[in-house]
């Protein structure tokens, strides 16, 4: 089945009759698998069952079949033909009977007239014959003989009966075509040509000239073929993305700034596709689509008709189908954002050459400066270079005067922005000084603690427990609820709390990356939830255990009188016994750290604000903004409409 390429069909060998081969489960179909949970269809000749997926027959299609014979049977016995229940198919059957070709799928496939749209339109009709034909494209292709042998029959069929439908007049050149060209974007999207089957449209050359949506151009046989095969020249390639291609941007950007939608009458696919997704996308897309309309000094030699509302409405429907391409669009977004940084060339969305509205007979002239070649179908230019040149010329002509216009009068918003930036800077400064203050306190604290530890060397055995023991009074622990001795209450509650807390996680996806911060967040990675612990490192009960206290260590907590006044003295009790100052280092450290965290948050906020102001400032008078908008000043004296003095 090399002909099809992309179809991952299981090999044709051993199609049916070798079913039971002594395994436990009976195996079926050409894939030789015992799976019977999917839709299956049975050959009326050999009674072998085939999976619908494997032979490309859906349940829906099968509903219309009366008699069905597998490929192999049909190969072996030419008289076996698939019979349908569909009314029109009776015609088909009668046609096929007189064309005694070995494969009627061949006939089905080569019968474009009956239901060509069914091949392509999602959700329209049950083109059994057509679908079947597609599915069995491979066997057909693998043996070229019948192809050659049966042109007469096809011709006959076509002459007798080229189907007319809502989308096919049956009489135009496109309707008469029987084969897909294989080169246009729609063909290359087809499975049989190796495509991902996302667009699902008829071959470009087979789109009915009268009735197809967005009547595509079908170059008639008389038109000289372009020198190069069509696809490479047409801008919106790879067809998977429907023409709005990122690759395009890089390579073509046929008009960096002004890319009028090609095929001027159908810009709506652009608009409708891009629209709901993302303002960034849309912005640049708009930059492309909108530039042309109604700006007289920029009009091309041909005028662009306004969006036809009827067309627009139809285009909306198509959009829903295309929504599935969200993933590819996300990628586009990202690359788009990157592109936007370069103020030089604002790439525009290429107009997808879904369809052209121009008369199919003549292609207009390329709009490139000094170019006399015909434009590509679906485009205004003969090549990317022409488009680029035209765009560059436009920018050169228009941008300087726009810049001048902008600079004619002071921009009030700009001034506000500058003032705001000033303020933010100042606040950032103050935040940083606070941070330094905190760092200083941090070091101070450490030194106090160190000093306390030093004192441990001179151990003290004073054990004056200031408070009298109220062992009758029972306090209930807030975490576990057990009654505890008030003397050890603090110690117990700390431990108890740590126990419960260590069972919960508190983290975020991102590791902390702050320059210059010595110790803030715990940041231990939890592989299960893929998060980094965001508790304060000094406090985290989950990831740090309190170190064991040696027997001779002294508490060392600076003592205070009346809560606030430092006496300069230190608690001399052994740490193990001191109940008043349990864990004092940890808590003090945490205090300082928390303060530092707060300052960092504030700084973060300020950075955010600054970034916003800066982007506003750049976008306000950016390339796009200047090219798309204009403020005409009529009174040279009045640059500011405020009646009072500038604030």
């Amino acid at each position: 089945m090399e002909g099809d390429g992309s179809d991952p069909e299981p090999p044709d060998a051993g199609e049916d009759s070798k079913s039971e081969n002594g395994e436990n489960a009976p195996i079926y179909c050409i894939c030789r698998k015992p799976d019977i949970n999917c839709f299956m269809i049975g050959c009326d000749n050999c009674n072998e069952w085939f999976h619908g997926d494997c032979i490309r027959i859906t349940e829906k299609m099968a509903k219309a079949i009366r008699e069905w014979y597998c490929r192999e049977c049909r190969e072996k016995d030419p008289k076996l033909e698939i019979r349908y229940r569909h009314k029109k198919s009776r015609e088909r059957d009668s046609n096929e009977r007189d064309g005694s070709e070995p494969r009627d799928e061949g006939g089905g496939r080569k019968r474009p007239a009956p239901d060509p749209d069914l091949q392509r339109r999602a959700g329209s009709g049950t083109g059994v014959g057509a679908m079947l034909a597609r599915g069995s494209a491979s066997p057909h292709k693998s043996s070229p003989q019948p192809l050659v042998a049966t042109p007469s029959q096809h011709h006959q069929q076509q002459q007798q009966q080229i189907k007319r439908s809502a989308r096919m007049c049956g009489e135009c050149e496109a309707c008469r075509r029987t084969e897909d060209c294989g080169h246009c974007d729609f063909c290359r999207d087809m499975k049989k040509f190796g495509g991902p089957n996302k667009i699902r449209q008829k071959c470009r050359l087979r789109q009915c000239q009268l009735r197809a949506r967005l009547s595509p151009v079908t170059p008639s046989e008389s038109l000289p073929r372009p020198r190069r095969p069509l696809p490479t020249q047409q801008q919106p390639q790879p067809s998977q993305k429907l023409g709005r291609i990122r690759e395009d941007e890089g390579s073509v950007a046929s008009s960096a700034v002004k890319e009028p939608p090609e095929a001027t009458a159908t810009p709506e696919p652009l608009s409708d596709e891009d629209l709901p997704l993302d303002p960034d996308l849309y912005q640049d897309f708009c930059a492309g689509a909108f530039d042309d309309h109604g700006l007289p000094w920029m009009s091309d030699t041909e005028e662009s008709p306004f969006l036809d509302p009827a067309l627009r409405k139809r285009a909306v429907k198509v959009k829903h189908v295309k929504r599935r391409e969200k993933k590819s669009e996300k990628k586009k977004e990202e690359r788009y954002k990157r592109h936007r940084q370069k103020q030089k060339h604002k790439d525009k969305w290429k107009h997808p050459e879904r369809a052209d509205v121009k008369d199919p007979a003549s292609l207009p002239q390329c709009l490139g400066p000094g170019c006399v070649r015909p434009a590509q179908p679906g485009s205004k230019y003969c090549s990317d270079d022409c488009g680029m040149k035209l765009a560059a010329n436009r920018i050169y002509e228009i941008l300087p005067q726009r810049i001048q216009q902008w600079q004619q009068s002071p921009c009030i918003a700009e001034e506000h922005g500058k003032k705001l930036l000033e303020r933010i800077r100042r606040e950032q400064q103050s935040a940083r000084t606070r941070l330094q203050e905190m760092e200083r306190r941090f070091h101070e604290l450490e030194s106090i603690i160190a000093r306390a530890k030093q004192q441990a060397v001179r151990e003290d055995e004073e054990s004056n427990e200031g408070d009298s023991d109220d062992t009758d009074l029972q306090i209930f622990c807030v975490s576990c609820g057990h009654p505890i001795n008030p003397r050890v209450a603090l110690r117990h509650m700390e431990r108890c709390y740590a126990k419960y807390e260590s069972q919960t996680s508190f983290g975020s996806m991102y590791p902390t990356r702050i320059e210059g911060a010595t110790r803030l967040f715990c940041d231990v990675y939890n592989p299960q939830s893929k998060t980094y612990c965001k508790r304060l490192q000094v406090l985290c009960p989950e990831h740090s255990r309190d170190p064991k206290v040696p027997a001779d260590e002294v508490c060392g907590c600076p003592l205070v009188r009346d809560v606030f006044e430092l006496t300069g003295d230190f608690c001399r009790l052994p740490k193990r016994q001191c109940n008043r100052h349990y864990c004092w280092e940890k808590l003090r450290r945490a205090e300082v750290d928390l303060e530092r965290v707060r300052v960092w948050y504030k700084l973060d906020e300020l950075f955010e604000q600054e970034r916003n102001v800066r982007t506003a400032m750049t976008n306000r008078a950016g390339l796009l903004a200047l090219m798309l908008h204009q403020t005409i000043q009529h009174d040279p004296l009045t640059t500011d409409l405020r009646s009072s003095a500038d604030r």
């Binding site: 608009s271 409708d272 629209l275 709901p276 303002p279 849309y282 912005q283 708009c286 909108f290 530039d291 309309h293 109604g294 700006l295 306004f306 902008w406 009068s409 002071p410 921009c411 009030i412 918003a413 916003n612 506003a616 976008n619 306000r620 903004a625 798309l628 908008h629 204009q630 403020t631 005409i632 000043q633 009529h634 009174d635 004296l637 009045t638 640059t639 500011d640 409409l641 405020r642 009646s643 009072s644 003095a645 500038d646």
Partner: protein, 371 residues
């Protein structure tokens, strides 16, 4: 009058010539002049203060030109929309001008210099109306895609999308507290939405034709809605009860309704080339303004209170009409647009009018007057 120097700041005023006029104003305008006299007294104390000067001149002008005309002159033309502009609104703090258009975007311009600021994208269909919140930080937009969107102007992002209407949303309005939004739609209903959650709180359906305009009064207690069926209804905002229905003899479709700034009157525009000022508590029409052309489009009209008291409205003959509120005579017609002027907005503090026109024109024009 005072002269502006090139930088735009008011220059040294020429006061001498004015003095005799004060007295004349006093005797002529009677009570009105009392107020102006106190103004003048204030001004002369701080005579060097440039700020008082405009107040001074405007007040004197007001007194002496109580029946006089404004002199709006075209100052800026803002080009940028690629389709017809549907609505323009000044922000309550006077800094920005927002314009919505059939090209599905909203553009924010600086109100004083007319310079482009940013564009808000997101709607799938044309936008028919926008409104600012009271703190000038949010916008609500009503679109043909049956949704309303609440935007944060600072960041340019859409905060919420309000879904619920079953047909084009035509008009929208914030309440003075800016915690509620009302919207009128082609599905003949008025919906009240909560801003914080984006949920529809109430649906008032008492019209039999598309609702063309909705408006809160100055303290947010009443809602007025006008519709093509010719009826204006007044609702209690808290309960959703219809308090009153204003119908004229032959009920022409109502294209626009708005409360006056003091909340006592309603300005109703109808598609028979008429604007009427109603006292709704008594259900009587007090003033009628005609001369313009309005038979097809829902054209916005406004009260101009910063200088003289005018009624400002667009018109289908490409002009902006300004009437004297009391005398009902046309005091000025602003020419410059090349298509129907669909929307005219008045600046909250300055004598600036912004007007926007439809598809043949697609521009917004800023006009300024001295009084």
């Amino acid at each position: 009058m005072f002269v502006r120097n090139v930088a735009g700041t008011p220059g040294p005023p020429i006061t001498i010539a004015k003095k005799p006029k004060y007295r004349a104003a006093w005797s002529r305008a009677g009570r009105l002049a009392d107020q102006t006299w106190s103004f003048i007294a204030m001004a002369t104390e701080e005579s060097g203060d440039a700020k008082a000067e405009p107040a001074l001149s405007s007040s004197t002008n007001r007194s002496q030109k109580a029946s006089e005309k404004p002199d709006y002159a075209l100052k800026f033309t803002l080009v940028g929309h690629t389709e017809a502009v549907s609505s323009v609104k000044f922000s309550p703090n006077g800094e920005w001008l927002a314009s919505s258009s059939a090209d599905k975007v909203i553009i924010i311009w600086g109100a004083y210099d007319g310079k482009y600021e940013k564009t808000l994208y997101g709607h799938n269909q044309e936008i028919s109306d926008i409104d600012w919140s009271s703190d000038s930080s949010c916008l609500v937009s009503a679109s043909d895609d049956k949704t309303l969107k609440i935007w944060d102007v600072r960041s340019g992002k859409c905060l919420k999308t309000l879904k619920g209407h079953s047909n084009y949303v035509f008009c929208c309005n914030f309440n003075p507290l800016s915690n509620l939004i009302i919207s009128g739609s082609f599905d003949e209903s008025v919906k009240i939405w909560e801003v914080k959650t984006g949920k529809c709180l109430k649906t008032l359906s008492a019209h039999s034709d598309p609702v063309s305009a909705v408006h809160f009064n100055c303290n947010g207690s009443l809602i007025v809605s006008g519709s093509y069926d010719g009826v204006c209804r007044i609702w209690d905002a808290a309960s959703g009860q219809c308090l009153k229905a204003l119908v004229d003899e032959d009920n022409p479709p109502v294209s626009f309704v708005k409360f006056s700034p003091n909340g006592k009157y309603i300005l109703i525009g109808t598609l028979d080339n008429t604007l009427k000022l109603w006292d709704y508590s008594r259900g009587r029409c007090l003033k009628t303004y005609t001369g313009h052309k309005n038979e097809k489009y829902c054209i916005f009209a406004n009260f101009s209170v910063t200088g003289g008291k005018w009624i400002v409205s667009g018109s289908e003959d490409n002009l902006v009409y300004i009437w004297n509120l009391q005398t009902k005579e046309i005091v000025q017609k602003l020419q410059g647009h090349t298509d129907v002027v669909i929307s005219a907005a008045c600046h909250p503090t300055e004598n600036i009018i912004a007007s926007a026109a439809l598809g043949n024109d697609k521009t917004i024009k800023l006009w300024m007057s001295n009084y």
